[in-house]
């Protein structure tokens, strides 16, 4: 050891260490915090007068394809239930089901396939039977006015036509594979995308002539692509069904149930239909 450690340098050193640790630690702490915080209300409830019903938060884990519909339904639900804040956790159905199984705080789970819902049901995480309330169909997305005159799945294999589908590993790709089987056609896509929005983008940017996407995606593209119906879209295993269920251990099962009733009720049906879903 040296006899006289220069105190100023040492102090400056300590400050530096503290700063570095803080730099390293802060983002980590922020990451850790976001998982548990379901009470840091990001609510749009304006003034929350104490005279009205006590503030409640409803957490809904929902498939990414439900984003637009659920957000608009969330607004309506909050307006109809003063004091209630609806928070959404949108993501891949598989991921969401896994999160619920591992105890992530959620009151309602709404996935994009019965298989993913079954993951949560099998783990005893859903109260009662999940309810199937909506379906979504594949369509062939083509450029507006369909310049390559694509009217069937087989047309995607025509010379001079480039097609894009989802990879079979993801739900939209599994549906596409089932549709090919039903039509007895083997598509030769130039790319298998990671998700359905990737397929849509390829068609929107004119790099592919046709792509298999959902009716709701064609609707959301608002005129940038046109949708072509094909008969196999209604075959078994091709149509996507949307189940919803109340999560066991929900802090407020009653509120959760009223969300389920709302989504499956007339207002929910109207919003879903408008987005291109078929409702039951």
């Amino acid at each position: 050891m040296s006899t006289q450690p220069p105190p100023r340098t040492a102090r400056r050193g300590a400050v530096l260490v503290a700063a570095l640790v803080a730099l390293l630690g802060l983002p980590l702490a922020a990451c850790g915090g976001s998982g548990s915080g379901s009470d840091s209300g990001s609510g749009s409830s304006g003034q929350s007068p104490a005279a009205q019903a006590p503030a409640k938060t409803l957490t809904v884990s929902a498939a990414a394809s439900l984003t637009e519909v659920y957000q608009s339904l969330g607004q309506q639900f909050q307006a109809a239930n003063p004091g209630v804040t609806v928070k959404f956790n949108f993501g891949g159905s598989d991921q969401l089901a896994q999160q619920v199984v591992q105890g992530a705080p959620a009151d309602v789970l709404a996935t994009a396939s019965p298989t993913t819902m079954q993951t949560a049901v099998a783990a005893g995480k859903i109260q009662g039977d999940p309810l199937i309330y909506a379906t979504n169909k594949l369509q062939i997305a083509v450029a507006p006015n369909n310049p390559k005159q694509i009217t069937s799945l087989a047309d995607l294999n025509k010379p001079g036509v480039t097609s894009v589908v989802c990879a079979p590993a993801v739900p939209c790709g599994a549906a596409a594979t089932a549709a090919e089987k039903a039509a007895n056609v083997t598509l030769k896509p130039v790319s298998e995308e990671q998700d359905v929005k990737g397929v849509l983008t390829r068609v929107e940017t004119g790099n592919a002539d046709g792509g298999l996407v959902y009716v709701t995606d064609v609707k959301s593209a608002a005129g940038k692509v046109a949708g072509v119906d094909f008969p196999q879209a209604s075959a078994k295993g091709v149509t996507q069904t949307y189940p919803i269920g109340v999560v066991t251990g929900s802090a407020d099962p009653q509120l959760a149930q009223s969300w389920v009733s709302f989504v499956t009720g007339p207002q929910g049906k109207a919003a879903l239909t408008q987005a291109g879903f078929a409702t039951k």
Binding site: A10, G13, A14, L16, V17, L20, V21, L24, G92, D94, T162, V164, A167, A169, V170, P189, V190, S191, E192, E193, Q194, R202, T205, G206, N207
Partner: protein
Amino acid sequence: MSGVPRFLWVPAVLAWLLVAVPVVGLVVRVDLSNFVSLVTSDAALAALWLSLKTGLATMVCCLVLGGPLAVVLARSHLPGLPFIRSVVLLPLVLPPVVGGLTLLFLLGRTGPVGAFLYDRFDITVPFSTTAVVLAQTFVAMPFLVVSLEGSLRTAGERYEAVAATLGASPVTTLWRVTIPVVLPGLLSGSVLAFARALGEFGATITFAGSLQGTTRTLPLLIYLQSQDDIDGAVAMSLVLVVVAILVIVVSRTRDVR
């Protein structure tokens, strides 16, 4: 004691752990009983082969194009050289997805160059293995250029000047003097470019798409498998870690030599 100030040790160890621990976590997570079948599946072998093939092609492209560029940057006295250099560095700073988009909007079927190629010659660049190499070259080029330009500047122009006074032509000087002197930098730059190409993801998936055997390189396969077959993704990740370590070992021994 060494001359390293003690207060540096804590962040230094943290930094090292931040890199090392996740890799250990990956190794621990590997499903050893199925490892061989997971990494020798058709999809895995196709991706590995494609990655090696496109990585090597990228390295050659970087050498053939980036090598001369580095010489121009280090030796010429063009006006606006700093500007030219900063453009070359752009891919280092840009998110690769942005690189992929720029390539797509240039060479995609509706892009100015892509439309011309498609209409005149019926050539579609995206979705091809060529597109993978283009995307990888875009992101890997600066690694070779920076490394080689650094070597050229460090080596200086003295030997070249001497060669010139002895009557050697600029071409002879380049082959007999400049290149031998900067060979270590050239090699480590090439290895770095190869390594960057192997890891390329964002530009490739945006510009080239993802299709087994044509455009689905190892990183793309790992990302795809992480959606439904996490064991496969982890096994392939381990393969990539091993390849990365090999690359580092190779480039290190070059440095020492």
